[in-house]
């Protein structure tokens, strides 16, 4: 009974988003309301516990939203200067080989865009480019959707990974390695699937070498960067690494036309220059110890006392999520945004009113997702503090037992598909997966790595993202076709993560 009651908030989010096509903000609000009612009426959560839970939720939300807001600000700074457009215009000139175009634009460039932007940007930017190159609208959406999934967890400058850390309380040192390993492995398979989607098995055979090179380079860069503590720029660096290899390698696959024009190197260099600032600032803050300590002086930290429900579930005393205001990954992004803005402005790349458009565009884009994150985080914290997550974890552990490592990535995938994002899936299911892994005695980091990888790969199929992709490729109303085009590939990728999770647990 406790299991089913505890499952109601999550079930209500899933049913409202999928069955009733509600947005994440609406469904998140409904999930919060049901969690609050059930916690108070059925799990014995009193006002003290709920009061502290709301403040804990506020800190967690700010921790995640700091990155979400700053990441999109940086994207808007570059986009307003025409940087994204420049890269998009330069890449098609590299090659006339359709399979290679799909790889470079739909996989490598999509991964780069996910690294810096996210929020549906890769498909929105790339689908029209591929249509312009002669791909069918269906493939123009399927290819970049598939191509950027492996970069989602560490993409958007680490938003989803931050959410995983926030919801589980585990640090990057524990979570980064398995998450990056699983995603890097799926990245390689992603390349094969992108080539297959573009031109079938012949493209897979013909382009095996560049697929291996791009996959290994991007996967290795993401793994090394994430495990070195630079997880907020891991997918971004992977994208940059892939692009650096794509330029010379794509030239070797020029295709039959040989009239693919000249690459606008100057445009490409200028476009990337704004993002080089991000690398410089991140490295400076992480590696220059005096600077790191100076920026870490101001932090928001709240100590919470022990609380217990009327049924005896105890939440131990301890600090909530600490937010180092000027050393936070969001702060690093904000500094980078200001510096990039100044560079682009000095170069005369902005028209009058650019600053206002950047700020208002950022606010409009992130507001709805901010509401959904705030509601879902509050729901997740109330569930955790009131013992609802514990009840669900015990029910799940009893139900699946030895199959759990295989199922965990599918739970993440289901969460991302239903809630529309890897971040939401991590917020809603992170603590549940952690507690279930602990109860069953599995290494939590591996299970959570499998969870977030599954969520990342399946997030590309979320109806909210598919709708955006369909609208940019002129396929509005045919979202079902796109979903059918994606489902086989996505299932293969999540199945790979399931197997890797099982294998990893044998070796840990």
């Amino acid at each position: 009974m406790a299991f089913f009651l505890a499952f109601i908030p999550i079930a209500s989010i899933l049913v409202l988003m999928v069955g009733f096509r509600w947005g994440a903000a609406r469904a998140g609000g409904a999930g919060y309301l049901s969690a609050l009612l059930i916690a108070a009426l059925a799990f014995g959560a009193g006002p003290q516990l709920l009061g502290y839970a709301h403040t804990r939720a506020l800190l967690l939300s700010l921790d995640v939203l700091y990155i979400v807001w700053a990441a999109f600000l940086l994207y808007r700074v570059a986009d307003e200067a025409g940087a994204i457009r420049s890269i998009g215009q330069a890449l098609p000139h590299l090659t006339a080989d359709r399979g290679m175009q799909a790889l470079v634009i739909g996989w490598v460039f999509a991964s780069f865009l996910q690294g810096v932007g996210g929020f549906g940007v890769p498909v929105a930017v790339i689908a029209p480019i591929l249509v312009g190159l002669g791909f069918t609208p269906m493939m123009a959406v399927v290819i970049p959707s598939l191509g950027h999934g492996w970069a989602v967890t560490f993409g958007s400058l680490g938003s989803s990974f931050q959410a995983l850390m926030a919801s589980t309380g585990l640090p990057a040192e524990v979570l980064a390695a398995p998450s990056a390993l699983f995603l890097s492995a799926s990245g390689l398979l992603t390349g094969l699937l992108v080539a297959h989607a573009a031109e079938g098995w012949s493209a897979v055979r013909r382009l095996a070498l560049p697929i291996a090179v791009f996959g290994i380079v991007m996967g290795a860069v993401q793994y090394v960067t994430a495990t070195a503590g630079l997880w907020n720029i891991a997918a971004f660096c992977a994208g940059v690494g892939g692009l650096l290899f794509a330029v010379p390698l794509a030239r070797r696959f020029r295709g039959q036309q040989g009239e693919n024009g000249d690459l606008d190197r100057r445009g490409l260099e200028f476009a990337v220059s704004g993002y080089l600032v991000l690398i410089a600032v991140t490295l400076a803050v992480q590696l220059v110890q005096p600077l790191n300590e100076f920026l870490g002086q101001v932090a928001i930290r709240v100590d919470f006392p022990e609380v217990r429900t009327a049924l005896g579930h105890v939440t131990p005393a301890g600090p909530g999520r600490t937010i180092p205001v000027f050393r936070h990954a969001g702060a690093i992004l904000a500094f980078s945004s200001v510096l990039a803005y100044l560079i682009y402005r000095r170069a005369g790349l902005y028209t009058p009113g650019a600053a206002r458009r950047i700020l208002s565009g950022t606010l409009r884009k992130v507001l709805s997702s901010s509401v959904s994150i705030a509601s879902m985080v509050a729901m997740a914290v109330i569930m955790e503090n009131s013992g609802m997550t514990e009840a669900m974890a015990r029910g799940l552990a009893g139900g699946v037992e030895r199959l759990y490592p295989l199922i965990a990535p599918w739970i993440g995938a289901l969460g991302a598909f239903m809630t529309g994002s890897n971040t939401n899936s991590n917020v809603v299911f992170g603590a549940l997966q952690l507690r279930t892994a602990q109860i069953l005695g599995y290494t939590a980091a591996v299970i959570l790595g499998g969870h977030t990888a599954g969520a990342a790969l399946a997030s590309v199929m979320a109806p909210t993202k598919v709708v955006v992709g369909a609208s940019t490729a002129g396929m509005a109303g045919k979202e079902g076709d796109i979903l059918r085009g994606l489902i086989g590939y996505t299932a293969l990728l999540v199945a790979l993560i399931s197997l890797l999770t099982l294998l990893a647990l044998w070796f840990v």
Binding site: G29, Q48, L50, Y52, T55, F304, R364
Partner: protein, 60 residues
């Protein structure tokens, strides 16, 4: 009904901003209310957060 939905949709930005403020601002106060042992104040503040979530739920 359709008019109401259209109006809500047109004001989506303002309503989401209002929802976010109603969710965040009282949540900072619940800590102090809980610490001072004032259950009534905690419930009032939580009620405001509930209102914020209700606003989020009604915006199409």
């Amino acid at each position: 009904m359709a008019d109401l939905k259209n109006n809500l949709r047109k004001r989506q930005f303002q309503l989401h901003l209002l929802a976010l403020l109603l969710i965040f601002v009282p949540a900072a106060g619940t800590y102090f209310a809980a610490q001072s042992g004032s259950d009534a104040l905690v419930w009032v503040l939580i009620f405001i957060v509930v209102l914020g979530n209700l606003v989020a739920v009604v915006v199409p």
